[in-house]
Symmetry: C2
Subunit: 311 residues, 2 copies
């Protein structure tokens, strides 16, 4: 694996901010995104196009997208719950759009008030919208299978259901699918098994990314399992901000700082400079007073004699 490039997709400005009460000022969001890009992060999910009354923390997503697009080399990703959100994302100029489809239908109804069939209708609507755009302006479109490893409401989510939904998303016209451990239920054996099964159904290149949580402390072990079956994109959140507000007790994104430390220590290439990344926490500390920031590596510091080969 040594030397392989791994893409870290920072989701803090979306998944992190949607899960906390504080509302981060627009200027701080811009500073955060700029600072992470300057540290070498090349993909950031900067917000979500949801009604402002549901998530006031993300009300200025269009403005954030427009600003983020001015940063050279940065892939600007957003989450959209439906066609209307996708229209707003396209208007703002997002490079990548992800629609979450919860493998647990109960969770889907609670989260976006839609059944699987209704969500797949939205997906087809978005595909039609995107195919109407000139190729050069067409954002990449991912179907993100949330609660793929288990649900806090339904409990066990059968792997067959996840595989079938992944196939349905690709059939509906998504460019790729991702698997999300929204609830922090995943274990390394399950990660390997589910990745293999989904890839067998949709093809190796249709599944590149995992969104893992650290709810039960297994986040980085699950990343390692993903790496070992060829996953090359991982979502994470600076300072571990976030989780799903509609999956009770499911807080805890994996911490970008710890993830980058692990990958770089293993000799993989993230392109991210750790010292610079660690310094970005100051922006969160200043803009989100009272919110808890997580991470082991930030507390412990880098090992004595640790040299980052890619930096």
């Amino acid at each position: 694996m040594t030397g392989q490039h791994i893409l870290i997709s920072e989701v803090g400005p979306r998944d992190g901010l949607q899960s906390i009460k504080s509302i981060m000022p627009l200027a701080a969001k811009k500073a955060w995104i700029e600072a992470e890009a300057a540290a070498g992060v090349t993909e950031i999910e900067v917000g979500s196009f949801v009604p402002a009354k549901l998530l006031p923390q993300l009300a200025n997503t269009a403005e954030v997208v427009r600003h983020a697009r001015t940063i050279p080399g940065l892939t600007v990703a957003v989450l959209v719950p439906n066609l209307k959100g996708a229209e707003a994302a396209v208007a703002a100029g997002a490079h990548k759009i992800t629609i979450p489809l919860s493998a647990s239908e109960t969770h889907s109804l609670k989260n976006v008030r839609r059944t699987h069939a209704e969500m797949l209708d939205e997906v087809r609507g978005i595909v039609a919208l995107l195919r109407g755009l000139p190729v050069a302006e067409r954002p990449k479109f991912e179907g993100g299978l949330s609660t793929a490893f288990g649900c806090t409401i339904e409990g066990v989510v059968p792997a067959d259901k996840v595989v079938a939904l992944a196939a349905a998303l690709m059939h509906a016209g998504c460019d790729e699918v991702g698997l999300s451990d929204t609830t922090g239920y995943a274990n390394p054996a399950q990660v390997k098994d589910l990745v293999r099964r989904v890839r067998a159904a949709v093809g190796e290149h249709a599944l590149s990314g995992l969104h893992l949580h650290n709810t039960r402390g297994l986040g980085l072990a699950n990343v390692l399992a993903g790496l070992e079956v060829g996953i090359s994109t991982f979502d994470s959140s600076l300072a571990g901000l976030g989780g799903c507000p509609f999956a009770p007790g499911a807080s805890g994104n994996i911490v970008t700082e710890d993830l980058v430390f692990m990958l770089e220590a293993m000799g993989l290439q993230t392109g991210i400079k750790l010292e610079k990344l660690l310094a970005v926490r100051r922006i969160l500390r200043d803009a989100l007073r009272g919110e808890e920031l997580y991470g082991f590596t930030p507390d412990a510091g880098l090992p004595l004699g640790f040299i980052q080969e890619s930096a």
Copy 2:
């Protein structure tokens, strides 16, 4: 791997208690050890035979050993820094004795004021002592290579040095060697590499155990790496108590609760009942007021629908 038995060696009563200021009353130590054994833990490092003035927390180790020996099926392990400690361990009736040998000589001098050569002399002295005992009464003798993955004083510890010291320990008469990430510097690639190298030098069965820390959040990922190269014994500490008091910033044993959750969720067999194990934390909370208890699974709870196959 599914179905394989993994041995969890609980080190909290030694590594945990030596690293905190509070002194746990003898009755609480006994209750802790009894409760973990009742939850299915079959090996516990119950203390260390060091001068009481250095570690008053462990002054009653002989009494703890004698009590722990009355628990059916429990392997009673202790740490000893030298021959004198080993004599006390034998007198008390320990089943397993581990002597730490720091791969970093600077750390060795700071921790036990002895060079590598002096430590190997102690090892030979202990081997002579043990060989003088009737076979049935002879405790198992392990050489534990601390700072094997890096040192907070020396920085990088060359793998060759660790391999040479492992061979020296076996040559001096140890029954087996273990590798300790005393400083929380290890990463999964390094764990696999070092385990393979040490085994190539001393034989597969001479290295069975890893003692890993979670200082930078990689503890369970490192366990997974160990599992994948055939390691079947892992040290951990209930509530993540502990670390090495002489390696600054190196706190953070891996949390027994999270480790058992990961292994059981993966379908491996620890023989430990999670619900019972989680309940043992109450003993620590009551006896160590003011000390921080760690662990993600205890906070998040077990996943809905989680069934422990081995319990």
